[in-house]
């Protein structure tokens, strides 16, 4: 890990405090203040805007020294997402992904 212990504790404190403030934000304000529609609409897409992009380079870009993406990871990723889309079930998709990953890793020996 390239991060120092001090930085690690700063990160823990900042994320703990920042997350609490996001959660408490509108509960803290008295009364029924409404958020502007436009802002609500943007917030609705935060997880789906961050998480696929976080994963994409790991799946599609070659690792150092390779010419293409790792076929085993790619296959496991595709199966995981497809099972998730089809079943709408996070745990089912996780199990399918781990199964494909373990099987292909074992076969590639």
């Amino acid at each position: 890990m390239s991060i120092s212990t001090t930085e690690l504790w700063i990160m823990i404190a900042a994320l703990g405090l920042g997350t609490f403030l996001l959660r408490f934000s509108f509960l803290a304000l008295l009364g029924n203040r409404e958020l502007p529609d436009g802002l609500l609409r943007l917030l609705r897409y935060t997880p789906v805007a961050v998480i696929p992009g976080l994963m994409a380079p790991q799946i599609f870009l070659p690792v150092a020294g390779a010419t293409g993406p790792d076929p085993i990871k790619l296959a496991a990723a595709v199966v995981t997402v497809m099972v998730g889309v089809w079943s709408k079930n996070v745990i089912g998709a996780m199990i399918a992904g781990v199964a494909v990953l373990s099987l292909l890793t074992w076969l590639a020996g």
């Binding site: 994320l15 509960l27 805007a49 994409a56 990723a77 995981t80 998709a93």
Partner: protein, 240 residues
């Protein structure tokens, strides 16, 4: 049917019971977080401090992922907070229901807010408009009183028992699999699909941008895309 929501106490236990199915989701994620945190170099104390203070699995895993990619501290914090920005929306949506509860209770509700507590409570509040304020907060704390200890113990189990996992288990890919599994169920509408598409292509094209800033830029573009597509779809539906 409405009876369990009459008193704060009965609403609390109803919430507690309604939270039970979520154990199936919370336990694997907690364990994965614990294992991955130790792998990334956290001590058990650090991973527990992290999981208890932040109490948001997806953001915690995002932070660890970016840290192990060597992203600068500020980017790690900003991107993980971006994952949690939806909580502000949850907060705004709960406020009309529980805004009159004492400040300390609202602060506790904030700290304990996760996707599961929010989703179940807001659904029950809508369905039972006659619920008293005490019953509403009771229900919320009922779910939270189940989910929080389960999450904390699952994280601890992952952190402590993680090194017992045999070496041939492909742990390095545990976080990507956990995240990838979350993507499918997120793609509820065309707007979500469009946002995910922009997020992926944006992150790939912008991956050479220094300080892992590419992801943050891609995420902002993806949010705008999702919101815009939603507006278009509403307009199309409104047309005769």
């Amino acid at each position: 049917m409405t009876k369990p929501f009459h008193t704060a106490r009965s609403a609390f236990w109803r919430g507690f019971r309604d939270g039970v199915p979520f154990i199936l989701i919370v336990v694997p994620f907690g364990v994965v977080f614990g294992v991955v945190a130790i792998e990334a170099g956290f001590t058990v104390a650090q991973s527990m401090a992290f999981t208890i203070s932040t109490y948001a699995g997806a953001a915690q895993l995002t932070a660890i992922q970016l840290m192990s990619e060597g992203a600068p501290l500020a980017i790690v914090i900003l991107t993980a907070l971006a994952v949690n920005a939806r909580m502000a929306m949850y907060s705004a949506s709960l406020a009309p229901h529980v805004g009159k509860a004492p400040m300390w209770q609202r602060a506790m509700m904030g700290y304990l807010m996760v996707d599961q507590t929010y989703a179940m409570s807001s659904m029950v509040y809508e369905r039972h408009p006659t619920m008293t304020l005490a019953a509403k907060t009771g229900y919320y704390f009922g779910i939270a009183s189940l989910i929080w200890p389960v999450w904390a113990s699952a994280s601890l189990a992952g952190a402590v028992l993680g090194n017992l996992i045999p070496a041939w288990v492909p742990l390095g890919f545990a976080v990507p699999i956990a995240f990838m599994a979350m993507i499918g169920p997120m793609l509820r509408t065309l707007a979500h699909v469009a946002a995910a598409f922009v997020s992926v292509t944006g992150a790939l094209i912008l991956s050479p941008v220094p300080y892992s800033l590419g992801l943050l830029i891609a995420a902002v573009l993806a949010m705008i895309t999702g919101a815009q597509v939603e507006v278009w779809m509403q307009r199309r539906r409104a047309e005769p």
